[in-house]
Symmetry: C2
Amino acid sequence: MVYRRTENAAQRLADKRARILKAARDLVAEGGWAAAQMDHVADKAGVATGTVYRYWPSKTELCVEIVATVSAREVGIVKAVADRKSPPIEKLSAAIHTFASRALRGRRLAYALIAEPVDPEVEAVRLEYRAQLAHCFDRIVREGIMRGIFPRLDPAVAAACIVGAFMEALIGPLAPAKGTGSRANKHLIEQITQFCLRASVGSPAGKP
Amino acid sequence: MVYRRTENAAQRLADKRARILKAARDLVAEGGWAAAQMDHVADKAGVATGTVYRYWPSKTELCVEIVATVSAREVGIVKAVADRKSPPIEKLSAAIHTFASRALRGRRLAYALIAEPVDPEVEAVRLEYRAQLAHCFDRIVREGIMRGIFPRLDPAVAAACIVGAFMEALIGPLAPAKGTGSRANKHLIEQITQFCLRASVGSPAGKP
DNA sequence: TCAAGATATGAACTGAGGTTCACTACTAAA
DNA sequence: TTTAGTAGTGAACCTCAGTTCATATCTTGA
């Protein structure tokens, strides 16, 4: 046997996989999926093209992993907000606010994950992400209706509208891209939150 | 000179261009941009691949024309609603309703035009379309605010939210695709309209 | 019917990007 | 210091889709 056959072997392999994954993720964050060409990924990771294929079986699987890891994190955060014991209105506000500020920090990546189509296999994971995100809002809306706080709207449609609204306003091509200042971002997030709250509750932040 | 050099010559050319354009548009409507490969377009139009290039200089220009013609029609319709002399609330409701029912009729095409990215040149036209669509809503919201009917929301953000909301709920991948029945569609459109109205006005259809 | 230009054809070309593989360089046990 | 096995390399390969062009076919005025 050669090379150390210790627990480190597996560790080293995982590290390298992660390094390549990070390189690819960074490229997507900079220029979307189009920027994540395999030779660029290799360059960014500081290895040769062929080496990438020692750690990832195909570009598709690499992309799937990017979507899976990043979206698991984001959904987890929003889900945590939805699981709180506070009133639905507060939860809705917090969930939108949380997601929005995080998405704004990495607009390009958020856009790639949410809106930019890719090949079918990656697309499937991406849609799962969107569905989970919508599901978080669906639950909040249901709770609000059950408690008689929200009007009788269709929770599924409302959830889709909420996701669509902040996606478009935040990271969509119509989003006011100029206002990259933190002040402008704050305003943007507040406006979006108000919009969605008013749509769900009938008045912003529960103040009628 | 050969072939009739009458006013018909130009007409025949225009007809053929249009026939190819329609073939391409139909393909996009069926399977999105990916389905609009040049040889498929040629097949659909009943000509050879090379013939397509006698009438269209490149795939890009063909796609640009698809986006331009279809979106000009849709924006025109929504704009007409926004230009009416009726109260902002009614206009907003009508604009969403109009756009939504039309988009539902051709979901795949609407999705391709609104959400599916393509190559940069086509993208530019596509963004112009979205911007014009948002602009219609921007104007309605502004008018509502000026008249003191709508709360003081940022019209640009609200417009983006409205467009995003109904896009996502109507034709986005999260849209309830199963409910293709006209009853389900009616419900969907109503819910979306209510959502956006409540968000802008504070109560659905102006009934507080 | 014929000539000449217009129109149509589709096989071949081209470039981009994902993938492979014969080869080199390295590591560590013997 | 071998040496067997592992990691790394990058040029070559393959596929796919857009584009071209030499050739064939058609149309109309003479």
